[in-house]
């Protein structure tokens, strides 16, 4: 109680001092922080707002840089949703992003867990080799990927679009780092309790790294949902296009139909929102430590 009283006295005297010396009691650093965050928020929200705004405009109004359309219309949405191609692309993107996400969550975590919790010769070399692939830019990999797809007959197929991203070095690295936080005692206790290594990974280790799995799922889904270059290269037919590739074909050689592209883009953000909302609740740390001392 005495300590609290002392603190109150100290705080009050500080405020009084500030008033006497004419200084403002508010923290300038905090104001600057808020200002920067506000500007950051504006920078992020503006393109989305402009995308929605453009999707509600008629073609003749697209190049007017006003946020609120003079004559708002949902005609673009009707056009895009009635266009059979859009749902095909949407389905392709959804299948590819979902399967790739599941594959990454399973295999990146399996490899990460193995590299983290097992001691075997060459473990470090394998990990370094996986990490080193992060340093190779995608542009350099596109040609080998294409040649592989060609020789395996995967050109213009969903498998062709998916295969380079089914496992990622980044995901493996992320999961390995998170598995480091799972104490070995958990694994050993399960081993004594009679579980095999695959059961331990699935029943004990995986639930303890849910936040990392959620983060990985969001990254991978968004990455594949918005992927453009590789799907553009590996697909030839309209039916195999993914959403970003398909949307870029709206319009004709003379003019780009921005209002339709923006409409498609606006609709295509919905699955990403759902994925984020579903997984964000898992991004809460601190679960792991609850079963330990303290």
């Amino acid at each position: 109680m005495t300590t609290v009283d002392n603190l109150t006295v100290k705080a009050s005297s500080k405020t009084l001092m500030a008033i006497k010396t004419g200084k403002r009691p508010k923290n300038m650093g905090q104001i600057i922080r808020w200002l920067l965050l506000f500007m950051g928020g504006i920078a992020m929200v503006t393109p989305i707002a402009y995308m929605i705004s453009t999707s509600l405009k008629f073609p003749h109004e697209v190049y007017n840089l006003n946020f609120i359309p003079d004559e708002p219309t949902i005609e673009n949405y009707t056009y895009v949703l009635e266009d059979g191609r859009f749902f095909g692309w949407f389905k392709n993107s959804l299948v590819i992003a979902t399967l790739t996400t599941i594959s990454n969550v399973l295999f990146d975590s399996l490899v990460g867990y193995t590299l983290c919790k097992f001691r075997f010769p060459g473990r470090t070399i394998i990990f370094v080799a996986i990490l080193s692939t992060l340093m190779i830019p995608t542009e350099m990999l596109v040609i080998p990927w294409y040649l592989m797809s060609q020789s395996f007959g995967w050109l213009d197929t969903q498998w062709g679009i998916m295969f380079p991203g089914l496992m990622t070095a980044f995901g493996t690295f992320l999961m390995k780092q998170f598995f480091e936080t799972v104490p070995d005692d958990f694994i050993e206790a399960a081993r004594i309790d009679g579980l095999n290594e695959l059961q331990i990974w699935w029943t004990v280790a995986m639930p303890l790294v849910k936040p990392a799995l959620a983060a990985l799922a969001i990254f991978v889904f968004l990455g594949n949902w918005t992927a453009f270059i590789w799907p553009l290269i590996v697909t030839n037919s309209m039916e195999m296009y993914t959403l970003p590739v398909g949307l870029s074909t709206f319009g004709d050689e003379a003019d780009v139909a921005w209002e339709l592209i923006m409409t498609g883009a606006a609709i295509s953000t919905l699955p990403t929102l759902v994925v984020f909302l579903v997984f964000q609740r898992y991004i809460i740390r601190g679960v792991v430590m609850a079963g330990l001392k303290g």
Binding site: P183, D185, F186, E188, A189, A190, R191, I192, D193, G194, L195, V204, P207, L208, V287, V288, M289, A290, G291, L292, K293, G294
Partner: protein, 353 residues
């Protein structure tokens, strides 16, 4: 229940040998405690018995079966870890029942077994809680419950009380002892706390630097220590060690001080020896004085007071009554029964009495 037998166990990590040929036989239903300072190899020994570490050489038997190459799950053991290792994403019920996942029991039988164990551990009301909603003692009880539910041949405890506060530790110590009396299983318990070892064990194994120093009952290791390390490790405060030279049936400590002792074995005159006196065996202010000194520190513990006495330049600790302790700076006489004195070879550290 089962016996555990360790024969010539050697363990090396890379080129460092950490266990140098351990031999130990644990009887069926015995409560054995491995005790020693950090790095003595007690936890490594336990982990090898559990199958969590490989054997470099030697043999481990559980019952009649050599288990060197068996997976932990096939050894019929259960282990309680220092950090509890209960799964935070599962309820207490699921945690306790986790060990039964691979058993052949039907679901109703499993539930019945979980309820029985929860009742023994007084945890029935906590079964639907998660570990984060439990106190340290309750979490440790869940860990014990998870081990109990499988009804293993051998229980292994790896410093399970280290993370509990002093009061809870005393309580859990009693509970584990009661549990042993109830289930009568073989228990191998690792601790660095000699009080835990003394209070719980049927026999204590004292280890140092990868070797066993002594195996004996609490009475034996306290009253008949095999060497200076055991003598000093067991008992608090530690045994007083006073260096001297053996001459004519006495320990000559200085020109003015010699203490006569009855020793059965032959000791050559001039042998450097160490006289061991437990603080509990020293009487302060007795007329039959062994030696005299000045009190320079008093540590009141309530029922008794630790008296630090300077004797001929050496510090000797004695225990005095808590009600009538000597005064600071006073000159006091200290005496001891000759039967309670210990003599060690100064060079090898081995007991000579």
């Amino acid at each position: 229940m089962a016996t555990v037998s360790i024969k010539n166990l050697v363990k090396s990590f890379d080129k460092t040998e950490v266990l140098h040929g351990i031999n130990l036989d644990v009887a069926d239903g015995e409560f054995i405690v491995l005790v020693g300072p950090s790095g003595c190899g007690k936890s490594t020994t336990l982990r090898i018995i559990a199958g969590l570490e490989d054997v470099s050489s030697g043999e481990i038997y559980i019952g009649d079966k050599m288990v060197n190459n068996l997976e932990p799950k096939h050894r019929d053991i259960a282990m309680v870890f220092q950090n509890y290792a209960i799964y935070p994403h599962m309820t207490v019920r699921k945690n306790i029942g986790f060990g039964l996942r691979t058993s052949k029991l039907s679901k109703p039988d499993r539930e019945k077994r979980i309820d029985e164990v929860a009742e023994i551990l007084a945890m029935t009301e906590l079964l639907e809680r998660r570990p984060s909603q439990l106190s340290g003692g309750q979490r440790q009880r869940v860990a014990i419950g998870r081990a109990m539910v499988r009804d293993p041949a051998v229980f292994l405890f790896d410093e399970p009380l280290s993370n509990l506060d002093a009061q809870l530790r005393t309580q859990m110590r009693l509970e584990i002892k009661k549990l042993h009396q109830r289930v009568k299983s073989t228990i191998i318990f690792v601790t660095h706390d000699q009080v835990e070892a003394m209070t719980m064990a049927d026999r204590i194994v004292i280890m140092k630097d990868g070797d066993i120093q002594q195996i004996g009952t609490p009475f034996e290791v306290f009253h008949e220590p095999a060497n200076m390390f055991v003598a000093q490790f067991i008992g608090a405060p530690s045994m007083n060690m006073i260096e001297g030279v053996w001459k004519d049936g006495s320990v000559k400590i200085s020109n003015n001080l010699s203490i006569a002792m009855k020793v059965e074995r032959q000791i050559a005159d001039g042998t450097k020896v160490v006289l061991g006196l437990r603080p509990d065996d020293l009487t302060v202010g007795d007329e039959q004085k062994l030696f005299e000194g000045t009190v320079h520190v008093l540590e009141p513990l309530g029922a008794e007071t630790l008296v630090y006495v300077t004797v001929d330049g050496r510090e000797v600790i004695a225990k005095a009554s808590g009600r009538t302790p000597p005064k600071m700076g006073a000159t006091v006489s200290l005496s001891a029964d000759a039967n309670n004195m210990h003599l060690f070879d100064a060079k090898s550290g081995e007991a000579l009495t």
